[in-house]
């Protein structure tokens, strides 16, 4: 049996099994194959050309969306000047809150007042404090629209807020009042600076008045 010989010859590379045409194709076959290659290549590349404008459209749309988002973000981060005749934002929000609450809840129920805190220069815009007391008419005692001109600067705004806080807390015991103020100062470094400055000015003013009184007394004597 020549089975073993066939296997040995095959493994030695002397007995090819595939009777393929290893000879060269004719010139006509080669020419035809080259034409077919060019035609197939053109067909395979054509869909890419069709999809190219679609890709460009999507890229343009993505660029426009990105530009809008970036512009919107930039405008949001830019501080907007407060219109002089408009109601201060804190008052507007407080009034809006109160109005909304009045619509939502029964008017016979006792209403609570939120202390709304805001920086005029941006950043953290609104800070809701916990409910401190029931103050149905607390907003009436606050400086309102006519005082808005006075809130042009940051220090004035903080003065306004401090006044507001004082009015909110005037009926509370000293310990609770101090605790509330301490909490506010603890969470806000700017408030600490402003309060320190105000206290410093008050002390300086008091010292100056005391010195002038002393001088008058000395002159008198």
């Amino acid at each position: 049996m020549n089975k073993k010989r066939i296997i040995d010859d095959y493994l030695a590379g002397k007995h090819p099994l595939e009777y393929e045409e290893w000879e060269l194709p004719t010139a006509e076959e080669l020419t035809h194959a080259e034409e077919e290659y060019d035609r197939l290549l053109a067909e395979r590349r054509e869909p890419k050309r069709r999809t190219l404008p679609l890709i460009l459209k999507w890229a343009t749309a993505a660029a426009v969306v990105a530009a809008v988002v970036i512009l919107g973000t930039w405008r949001t981060n830019t501080p907007q000047p407060m219109p002089p005749n408009d109601m201060p934002k804190v008052q507007a929000e407080a009034t809006e809150d109160t109005t909304r609450r009045n619509r939502k809840h029964n008017t016979l129920k006792p209403q609570t007042q939120h202390v709304v805190f805001s920086h005029a220069t941006g950043g953290k815009k609104k800070r809701h404090m916990p409910v401190i007391k029931e103050a149905p008419n607390a907003m009436d005692s606050l400086p309102l629209v006519n005082d808005s001109v006075m809130l042009a600067t940051t220090a004035d705004s903080l003065n306004f807020y401090l006044t507001k806080i004082e009015k909110e807390m005037e009926n509370i015991e000293d310990s609770l009042y101090m605790e509330g103020i301490a909490h506010l100062m603890e969470v806000d470094a700017r408030l600490q600076r402003v309060v320190n400055r105000l206290v410093g000015k008050q002390v300086e003013t008091a010292m100056q008045s005391k010195a002038s009184v002393d001088t008058i007394l000395i002159i008198t004597f």
Binding site: K3, I6, I7, L11, P16, W22, L24, L30, Y37
Partner: protein, 170 residues
């Protein structure tokens, strides 16, 4: 042309054939198959070529022809990869051979198809085209020792499968 000129020109011709395959299929493996088939045929006809320019022109034509052939095979067998289209089993044309010999040939083909892709490629050049390790190295750009090692491994693999199939006596 002389055989030694093949070793001088083969790397450049291989690069050219791979470029043609890549521009058509955009797949490295398919391009390697195209270059291999084109260079095997070019090597078979090497001594009939008058000049290097003719060899380059023929290599380009053969590479394009292989691209078309591979593409058609792939179109005929849409659910198989290019590699499997390349490695499809050729029908046994040994009508004069006995049924037993045809069965053996089919078993050998099946054993060869179980080789890893690179080894199968080298083995095809060795067993079917009758090329030596040095010539295979030129066409595939693989080191000669690596070619010899992979051919040896392929030979053992096929032998083992045939033995397990009962085609080789103990």
């Amino acid at each position: 042309m002389k055989p030694y000129e093949f070793s001088r020109l083969a790397p450049a011709l291989r690069t050219r054939a791979i470029t043609i395959g890549l521009s058509f299929f955009e797949q490295q493996e398919a391009a390697e198959d195209v270059a291999q088939e084109a260079l095997i045929r070019l090597w078979k006809a090497w001594d009939t070529l008058p000049s290097p320019k003719d060899a380059e022109q023929l290599a380009v034509s053969l590479a394009k022809r292989e691209c078309v052939n591979l593409y058609r095979k792939e179109q005929r067998r849409p659910h198989t990869s290019l590699s499997s289209a390349q490695e499809q089993v050729h029908p046994a044309s040994h009508s004069s051979h006995s049924i037993e010999e045809n069965e053996l040939a089919e078993a050998i083909r099946q054993a060869a198809h179980t080789l890893p892709r690179t080894e199968a490629r080298l083995w095809r050049m060795f067993a079917e085209a009758g090329m030596k390790a040095g010539e295979i190295s030129l066409i595939t750009d693989i080191n000669v020792r690596s070619v010899s090692s992979m051919l040896s491994h392929a030979r053992k693999h096929i032998f083992k499968i045939l033995k397990e199939g009962g085609y080789i006596d103990e």
